[in-house]
Amino acid sequence: MLIGPTGAPFVLLLVVLGVAVPLILIASRAQSARRLAITLILAASFAGCVVAVFGFLGRSAPRLDLSWATPFPFSLALDRLSAFFLLLVCAVGIPVTIFAGPYFDLHYSERRRNWTWGFFSLFLLSMIVVVTAATGFAFLVGWELMTLVSSGLILIEGDSAERRHNVFIYLLMMHVGAAAVAACFFLFLPYSHSLDFGAIRGSGAGIPAGIRAAIFLAAFVGFGAKAGIIPLHLWLPRAHPIAPTPVSALMSGVMLKTAVYGLVRFAFDFLGGGPPWWGYVVLLAGAVSGLLGVLYAIAEHDLKRLLAYHSVENIGIIYLGLGTSLLFLAYNAPLLAALALIAALLHTLNHALFKSLLFLGAGAISSATGTVDLEELGGLQSRMPVTGTSFLVACCSIVGLPLFNGFISEWLTFRSFLAGSVLTNTKAQVVLPLMVGVLALIGGLAAACFVKAFGVAFLGRPRSAESEHAVEVAVPMRSGMVLLAAACLLIGVSPGLILRPLASLVQGLIPGVGVPEETLNIARIMPWIAATVLGTVALVGAFKRRKRIARTWACGLPGLSSRMQYTSTVFSKPIRFVFARVYRPDRKIEQLPADQPYFPVSISYRSVRTTSYERALYRPFVEVIVSLAYRLRRLQTGNIQVYLLYIFLALVSLLTFLRFQR
């Protein structure tokens, strides 16, 4: 069954990504087949963008029902919220695919390349299924596929014991999350009698408060594990850095966003908001994730791990918006709730754009120099100007500087905090304006972190022979990055383009609200700010300046070497010193020989950030589970008579249960 004028391209999108591309790649290992597959992925993503834009603007809402072919009701539908997230998947998918072409060619053998592309296509498909699902079954199928395919992609990259351990943790956390998500759906079942989203939505209001709270908590944990909020973030800095870089871009840029989608779907669409403590829970999770995420990121010098921790931080910022929105809903301020929700959704889109750009930049760096360790980089801006400039745009965006897209959503979040002061509830009235300070601290630390990341990697002099001889990456890789950078700038300078449809989307989720005035204001003022800043820059730049190349001042000594520059570790030292209690570093100094302290032959020093609180949080769970498993092992005697007894007892107890159920 198919409704709507954009139904055909939507089906095409699913068929191409799910069937055509994998089949082509299985059938042939030729270069031309791969080219065809990449072109098809691009075409499908483009079609997806078109479908999504129509859906997002509310023009058309295709619905696809496949229940006749599946054991459980399986249908996909596109309302505005789904369309927004579909746009996010496809819009990020296009540049990442363009980038990935030469990247995979460079890094993988023929055989693995086909596997990678096949999984890549399925990964896109799984995310599309998640965000367009219209039944619980479809959602869970997509959710599971997304986890499995992405871990497959991580394993294609390599197969060491450490990698397997990290993938194991990833799968474990994802399945804990998936169990909680499944629980959410099943908790609805007694009231909605069906897992169709329409039925669930209709039953939302009639559910007793206790069950609603249970559903919310299950959704919070389930989607929180996927989103990587602290303390459920354990997998994120392990899984993201070891995936192939374009896949890291998709995982960080898009896959995490499906968790935001899920939380918005459940908390806003199905449950329609709840008591104030829901808001406080989400707000607290956001504040903790934001602060700890950025503090951990600063301490990293592996660029991909640094970016992974920044995903935790940005999910924190999104959660701050969502929590504020839930609070406003609970206190009957729907217009302000709409403002905060717009802020959260816009930050979701913005983060998808700039974070995938940052990961692609990291991929370009590793293609050019063979490493993503900041201590080995330096001076890349003059060697790779396009990569550098795109990366700089992404850095400014993630820091939330004006003229770049991250600012718009952070500004909206700030304004919704400030608006909290008009509430009549005393607690919320103080807590929300104080959150301005938290977000400002997060923003300030993020700025420090990206001055470090960009400054150490791209500026100054190269710190290794590889970065000394780095050359600019291939044209498709560059164009992928430039596309994303242009999108960041476009939203940053002219936010009205995206804010107006977002406001209509939010009106669908929070019935009866108008357009928040702040969104109109920022849309009007940003072009003026851009004109003022850029106009002044142009005016000053037009001024004729003579320049002469002269050696850097070296205090009168013959010359500087790259070892005299600040490194990434020492750059962040002051901040790590001030926040030492967060890191609790584990330091070890070894001097050889030990009996001659003043004339050592070698000194080795290592300092590792301990994760003591992580251990303290997870260890009890692990111990309980392991001891339970040991006890359960006694049930497994290997004796067939005992197993028959188990079956008999299970049957009897089920029958008894059914007898007394009524």
């Binding site: 801006q381 304006p433 700010i529 003022t532 300046r545 030292k573």
Partner: protein, 313 residues
């Protein structure tokens, strides 16, 4: 008329900035029993630097030369937010204080990058210390402004000033005192003044801002120096506008503006005297005491926000 007035205010902030810096330096010299240089010297120096050729390190990239321009552009833009003689501002009606603070952050971000691009140890040192201070200064800066914004129920700086103008001079609340203290502390930190940073030294143990700009020369240095002067002047004007706006012109009448301008000069003079006394009397803080200094500012501003709850009724 309104537009002319707004442009006039921006021009006052931009063109008067070197003078403010020079007067502070001169006052400091007098307090230290030196003669000090002429107050017009910064203008001559800016002119001289603008005419000179620029020395560029061989390892640097385009960022090195773009950074001072972005810094200057952003600072000029920030000057457009602050009312001086009339409760309105060029960008201040729709742009609010979050935008103001973040436009300043844009300039600082690029200046730090420029510092790192020189490829020497000093630039990195300055950028690293600046990163620490600015990341900790942002929260008290915004919270202090939030406190006033909550009282005024406005978020645009011009609107906040207009609200304050409507209040009785003697009706000063605890919120105002707390917010003023914390914003004054932030101003010292943001503009690189004692006790946070020493604007007159090139000693590697103490310098922050000067470390970042050590490699700059010629027109780029002129832009950086001018921008930091504008930033100082703008932040002083912000303190005046938020906490002592009385005397600002209420209409566009010429004599009203003249009086407002004179009063503004007097208020800035008082702040300059205070600044020079502080700078002469206080020793520079050790690097790792600066977070405590900013921590106190954060606590004060957080208290200011909490106290707004009782002031609103």
């Amino acid at each position: 008329m309104r537009l002319t007035l707004d442009i006039l205010q921006v021009l006052i902030l931009i063109l008067g900035a070197p003078l403010v810096r020079a007067i502070v330096a001169r006052l400091k010299a007098r307090l230290q029993r030196r003669r000090g240089s002429s107050v017009w010297r910064p203008y001559a120096e800016l002119f001289k630097l603008l005419c000179k050729e620029e020395l560029v390190p061989p390892t640097s990239s385009a960022v090195f030369r773009v950074a001072p321009m972005v810094l200057f552009g952003a600072t000029v833009c920030a000057a457009g937010f602050v009312p001086v003689v009339h409760a309105s501002a060029l960008l201040g009606s729709r742009g609010d204080f979050f935008l103001f603070v973040y436009v300043l952050a844009l300039g600082r971000f690029f200046l730090s990058l420029g510092g790192l691009d020189g490829g020497s140890a000093f630039g990195g040192m300055g950028a690293s210390r600046e990163a620490l201070i600015s990341s900790l200064a942002e929260a008290p800066f915004l919270l202090g402004l939030v406190a006033i914004a909550v009282l005024a129920a406005r978020a645009d700086i011009a609107g906040m000033v207009a609200w304050t103008l409507g209040q009785n001079v003697f009706n000063i609340s605890a919120v105002h005192i707390l917010a003023l203290t914390s914003l004054a502390m932030v101003t010292l930190a943001e503009t690189g003044r004692m006790p946070v940073d020493n604007p007159t030294t090139h000693l590697e143990l103490t310098m922050i801002h000067e470390g970042m700009v050590l490699e700059y020369s010629g027109p780029s240095l002129a832009l950086i120096e001018w921008a930091s002067a504008i930033k100082l002047h703008t932040l002083l004007a912000l303190l005046i506008a938020l906490f002592f706006p009385w005397g600002m012109a209420s209409s566009g009448a010429a004599w009203g503006i003249a009086v407002a301008l004179l009063l503004y000069c007097a208020k800035v003079a008082v702040l300059m005297i205070l600044l020079s006394v502080i700078e002469s009397a206080v020793a520079k803080l050790r690097m790792y005491l600066v977070p405590d200094f900013l921590g106190v500012a954060s606590a004060l501003s957080a208290l200011a926000v909490i106290f707004t709850m009782w002031m609103k009724r």
